[in-house]
C-alpha cells in the first residue's frame, strides 16, 4: 500500500511539473508578442552540471561534450600513513553531451560494482528575467544504472533485470543573485533487487544544494541529500561540502564527502560513513568541455 502511494505521488509529481511548465510557457509566449523587451535566461547558476554528487540545474549547452572524471578517496582520518586516504580510490568516468540548450544525455561507469549509468536531463522551465521572466528553473531527469559485476554464487538465481535500478528526479532551482544559487531536488530511486526481505525497493530523498560564489572563478558548494523513506539499513545521508574552481575549459570540484557513490543508486543506498563522526573523504570532479558542434550561423 505504502509502495503504491509512493508510486502515485511520483507520477503526479512528474506530471504536475511538466504541465505547470507548459502552462507557464504558453502564457509567456502569448505575452512575448506584445512586449518589445526580450526576456533573458539566467545562466551560470552553478559552475557545473553537478553540484557534487547531485545534478545541478545547470546545463552544458548544445553541441558540447563534457568529459567527467570523478574520484572519491579513502577517509581522511587515515593520517599520513595512507596519505589521508589517497591510497584508496573509487572512480567514475563519464561523458555528457548537450543535444540542446535544455537537453543533455550522459553515460558513465563506476568501478564499484563495475556499474554503468545513463541519464536524460531536460529543462522544461528556464529561469528568466525581464517582463516575461520566470523566477526559477524546473529540470526533469530520468536515468538508470546497470551493475556489470558478477553476482555471488549461485549465479543462476539472478536475472539481467536484477542488475538494474532506475531513478527519476525533479530539480527546482533559482539563482537568487550572482553570488548565490539554491535548488531542491527530490529523487525517487527504484532498485529491482535489494538484499533483505524487509528492505524497500523504493527510496525517496530530497536533495538540497547551494552555491556561494567566492571569486570570479571559485565558489563554495553544499550538496546534502537526506533520505526521506526507503532507507537501506545501515546507511547515512550523503553530504558534501566543496569548492568549484574554474580554469578555462576545466572545472575542478574539490570536496569533502561521506559518500563514495557517484551515481544516484550508489550514493543513495551505499553511503555507510557518518560525516558528523569524521568519516569524511576527499574527492574531486574534473570536468572538461569540448565543443563538438559549432552553433549554426543561420
Amino acid at each position: 500500500m505504502k509502495r503504491t502511494i509512493y508510486s502515485i505521488v511520483s507520477v503526479v509529481l512528474l506530471l504536475t511539473a511538466g504541465l505547470a511548465a507548459r502552462a507557464q510557457d504558453q502564457d509567456l509566449l502569448k505575452e512575448l508578442g506584445t512586449d518589445s523587451v526580450r526576456k533573458e535566461y539566467v545562466k551560470n547558476a552553478f559552475k557545473s552540471s553537478r553540484i557534487v554528487h547531485s545534478h545541478s540545474m545547470e546545463f552544458i549547452g548544445k553541441g558540447v561534450l563534457d568529459v567527467r572524471i570523478l574520484h572519491r578517496f579513502g577517509t581522511i582520518n587515515h593520517g599520513f600513513k595512507d596519505l589521508f586516504g589517497l591510497d584508496e580510490a573509487n572512480m567514475r568516468f563519464g561523458f555528457d553531451y548537450g543535444l540542446g540548450k535544455s537537453l543533455t544525455v550522459g553515460i558513465g561507469r563506476s568501478n564499484v560494482n563495475k556499474e554503468l549509468d545513463g541519464f536524460i536531463k531536460y529543462r522544461p522551465v528556464w529561469q528568466s528575467t525581464g517582463p516575461d521572466g520566470f523566477p526559477f528553473s524546473v529540470v526533469l531527469i530520468t536515468g538508470m544504472t546497470l551493475r556489470t559485476q558478477d553476482f555471488p554464487e549461485p549465479k543462476e538465481l539472478y536475472a539481467f533485470k536484477h542488475r538494474l535500478a532506475f531513478f527519476q528526479e525533479v530539480i527546482v532551482g533559482r539563482k537568487f543573485s550572482d553570488g548565490f544559487s539554491m535548488q531542491l531536488n527530490p529523487i525517487f530511486l527504484h532498485r529491482n533487487l535489494v538484499p533483505g526481505a524487509e528492505d524497500d525497493n523504493n527510496t525517496w530523498a530530497l536533495g538540497i544544494g547551494g552555491r556561494i560564489k567566492l571569486t570570479k572563478r571559485t565558489a563554495f558548494v553544499v550538496d546534502y541529500t537526506p533520505i526521506l523513506a526507503g532507507r537501506q539499513p545501515g546507511t547515512k545521508d550523503p553530504l558534501a561540502l566543496g569548492f568549484d574552481i574554474e580554469t578555462g575549459g576545466h572545472v575542478f570540484q574539490l570536496h569533502f564527502t561521506n559518500a563514495t557513490g557517484m551515481n544516484e543508486r550508489a550514493f543513495l543506498t551505499t553511503t555507510t560513513d557518518d560525516f558528523w563522526k569524521g568519516e569524511i573523504r576527499f574527492g574531486f570532479n574534473l570536468s572538461r568541455v569540448f565543443t563538438i558542434r559549432k552553433k549554426s550561423t543561420k
Partner: protein, 116 residues
Amino acid sequence: MMKKVLITLSVCLALLVGCTSDKEELLNPSGHDCAGVNASFVNDVWPIIQANCQGCHGAGSTNGPGPLTNYTQISNVAARIQAAVESGIMPKGGGPLPSAQIRIIRCWVNSGTPNN
C-alpha cells in the same frame, strides 16, 4: 514544447515499466534463511573478517569504521558491515563475498551479534 514534455514523461514511464521489486533474501531463501543457523562469532564471523577485512581494518586503522580486530569493534559496527557486504562495496578491490559468507554475517547480526 508539449511534445518534448511528453517524450520526457514517456521515457520516464518506459523506464518504470522495466521495474521489478525482488528481494535477494526471497530469491535465494536458502542463502538467507537463518532458521537453524547458529552463526558463531569465533568459528564463523571472525575468520571471514580476518580473511577479508583486516587488510585495511587492522589495528590502528582509521578506514571507515576503523579497526575490526576484536569482538567489541566488530559488534559495534555490525549493521554497517552487513550493509557494506550486502551491497558489494566491501571487501574493497575484490568481488562480493560468497553468498554463504554474507548469510553468516547477516544471521549473526540478526541474532543480536552474540559473542559465542
